[in-house]
């Protein structure tokens, strides 16, 4: 358990009254999901799994539902990010007004690319969709504060100011060191259950034969159920065709082929 996790119960208790106030604003508690996640992100710097579990309990929805909802929104981070999130607009109006040069300047200055955090954990860099400041292209946001009329030559000064603590925008809370990216690797995200129930090894089949319908009927019924538009098949005709085919195969290949199937 890291320090953040140790302090989470205290944080939760501290924020609970505010959460309750948020919940009271809505006819249905679940509406408070985004505001509560935003509140926790403000304090922890990202939406921790502990925060999602707490929200799940407060709002009466399953943890999976909370995670699913949070994962939809790009401004909610499920992994730690830098103290500054730099988001350069990649909207069309900015792009045709030099945004790519600004981006290149950031790549060079920060040494990281889209969706990446600097190794010192200071800056998370991202290229985002139209920020609605097209009249001030190229625009960007640092910790959601607008930066207008951005030109490559200003990038150096901005980053230096962030590094020296002189930047005009306050840094975000950071309770855990960020990794290379906050964009989740897919494989790590999916659940790993308990020990696999697995499948037992395939034993050599015997030819005892069930007592059920003829082989192939499952597929056949699917086709016939679908009505005349599907190959114009009728069950009777299809059954007969299937029988013929099986008969031919069995004749050609003999019983041995079946046993070795």
């Amino acid at each position: 358990m890291n320090e953040r996790q140790e302090q989470f119960p205290a944080l939760l208790e501290r924020l609970r009254p505010e959460c309750e106030k948020i919940i009271a604003q809505y006819e249905n508690p679940r509406s408070a999901l985004l505001p509560i996640m935003q509140l926790f992100q403000e304090h922890e710097g990202f939406v921790s799994s502990e925060a999602m579990r707490a929200a799940s309990e407060m709002l009466g929805v399953t943890p999976a539902v909370v995670e699913s909802t949070v994962s939809f929104y790009t401004l909610l981070y499920r992994r730690p990010v830098g103290k500054y999130t730099v988001q350069v607009c990649r909207g069309l109006a900015c792009t045709i007004n030099g945004a790519e040069d600004v981006m290149r300047a950031f790549h060079e200055k920060l040494g990281v690319g889209h969706l990446e955090t600097t190794p010192d954990g200071l800056v998370s860099y991202e290229e985002v969709e139209c920020l609605a400041a097209c009249d001030r292209a190229t625009c960007a946001q640092v910790n959601l504060e607008f930066v207008y009329d951005l030109e490559p030559k200003r990038v150096d000064g901005m980053v230096t100011a962030m590094r020296t603590g002189a930047y005009a925008v306050a840094p975000r809370a950071q309770t855990e060191a960020p990794g290379r990216t906050w964009s989740l690797p897919r494989l790590g995200e999916v659940a790993r259950g308990g020990r696999s129930a697995g499948a037992i090894g395939t034993e050599s089949p015997d030819n005892a034969g069930g007592v059920g319908d003829e082989p192939g009927i499952i597929m056949l019924d699917r086709i016939v159920e679908r009505g005349p538009s599907f190959y114009g098949a009728t069950r009777e005709r299809a059954v007969q065709e299937a029988r013929d085919v099986v008969a031919v195969i069995e004749e050609e290949e003999g019983e041995g082929a079946r046993a070795g199937h």
């Binding site: 929104y73 790009t74 909610l76 990649r90 069309l92 139209c130 609605a132 009249d135």
Partner: protein, 413 residues
């Protein structure tokens, strides 16, 4: 030049974020008047007769939208859509950041008009400033007694809740917005039922754009006749147009509808010296381009629709001869692919497929068959999606594929 200042009046001159300044200039008078001497139906009548159409993108007549609410005694909700994210659009942000009280008064009037006692404003997550400004304005208005229980002793209760988005373009679609407001993934809902019947919390709901609601204030102040007197026959009143791209003075310009596109271009200072016009996207990222020969088109809903494009959110992006239209097409298709909620197949898979193909074109690795494929796929997926996002991919792509085929062919490997 027909610059009109209605909603934009005073912006840049005085600090309309302060309730005192706003009130000194007649602010909240219409709200007081409505509460004291207008019936909700009368407010609705103003909205209807003014001919005010939705300023968010669809252009649906506001009065008609309100009239769809069933009279079933269920609680009703008004939701102000401030999730402005259509590429090229930056008018709603300007309004909530500069005239929050005007927006709020419009919301109050709208809520009163439909008989709602709880109104919400959904502010795009990126608009941190706008959120703070609006929240402060709401506090001021509440302190002044304009919001809350038994407002100005009228017996009318109206609560307003500010809700922040968290990064998703699709939440601008009204049913996705409602889902997001309910704490769900911002996925558009299957319609019917429409929000007027089953909206927020399953109750009758009206979702109106910021600009639409703000116009209610001057409509009430100056009369619906005044508003309807501006604009054209079916596109009445004014519109804030966000002009950006390759122009000298990009910005928001409020004009009567029907103003020729050429004049909008002039308002924005025209092209940069020595440049020639290649294309204009007249209604946001979802609209098809118009070209030099169409500059005299009146900027209104019908004329643009007739020209095969749309007015949309009123975002005019101007492209001069420096534009790489392959890159521009890639940019917008990538945008729609990135912002697809992923629910329905054509948008999720079609957008992504086109994005990947265009990415190859940008790198100069296009294939000959790709051009036909892009035409075929973008056309076929249009009209079969769950919501309008998937239908937004085709217009720009098609118009530049048709107009600038040489730019695409040059990228075929």
């Amino acid at each position: 030049m027909p610059v009109t200042k209605v909603l934009t009046e005073g912006i840049g001159e005085v600090d309309l974020r302060s309730i005192e300044v706003y009130r000194k200039r007649g602010g909240y008078e219409q709200w007081k008047r409505a509460l004291s001497s207008l019936k909700p139906e009368e407010v609705m009548e103003y909205a209807d007769k003014s001919g005010l159409r939705g300023r968010g993108g669809a252009g649906f007549p506001t009065g008609k939208k309100w009239s769809f609410l069933p009279k079933n005694g269920k609680p009703r909700y008004l939701v102000c859509n401030s999730d402005e994210a259509e590429p090229g659009t930056f008018k709603d942000r300007m309004l909530i950041e500069n005239v929050p009280h005007l927006v709020l008064e419009g919301m109050l009037l709208g809520a009163y008009g439909i008989g709602s006692h709880h109104a919400f404003i959904y502010i795009r997550g990126e608009f941190k400033d706008g959120y703070q400004v609006f929240a402060r304005a709401l506090d001021e208005a509440r302190a002044a007694g304009f919001v809350g229980k038994n407002i100005l002793s009228s017996g009318y209760d109206l609560e307003v809740t500010v809700h922040r988005g968290a990064g998703a373009y699709i939440c601008g679609e009204e049913t996705a917005l409602l889902n997001s407001l309910e704490g769900k993934r911002g996925e558009p809902r299957l319609k019917p039922p429409f929000p007027a019947v089953e909206g927020l919390y399953g109750m009758p709901t009206v979702v109106n754009n910021v600009e639409t609601l703000a116009y209610l204030v001057p409509v009430l102040a100056r009369g619906w006749e005044w508003f309807a007197g501006a604009g054209t026959e079916r596109s009445k009143g004014f519109k804030i147009v966000s002009v950006s791209g390759h122009v000298q003075r990009p910005g928001n310009y409020e004009v009567p509808l029907g103003t020729p596109v050429r004049e909008l271009l002039d308002l924005a200072g025209g092209l940069r010296p020595g440049r020639t016009l290649k294309a204009i996207q007249p209604g946001g990222g979802s609209s098809a381009c118009i070209f030099e020969e169409q500059l005299d088109l009146p900027y209104d809903y019908e004329s643009l629709a007739k020209a095969g494009t749309m007015l949309g959110s009123g975002a005019v992006v101007v492209f001069d001869d420096t534009t790489d239209f392959v890159k521009a097409a890639y940019n917008l298709v990538r945008f729609f692919s990135h912002e697809s909620c992923g629910q329905c197949t054509p948008c999720r898979e079609g957008g992504h497929w086109l994005e990947r193909v265009l990415e190859r074109f940008v790198d100069g690795r296009g294939l000959r068959g790709d051009l036909d494929m892009m035409h075929r796929v973008s056309a076929t997926i249009t009209g079969i999606n769950l919501c309008p996002l998937g239908d937004s991919i085709e217009p720009f792509l098609k118009s530049v594929l048709n107009r600038f085929p040489e730019q695409f062919e040059a990228r075929i490997a």
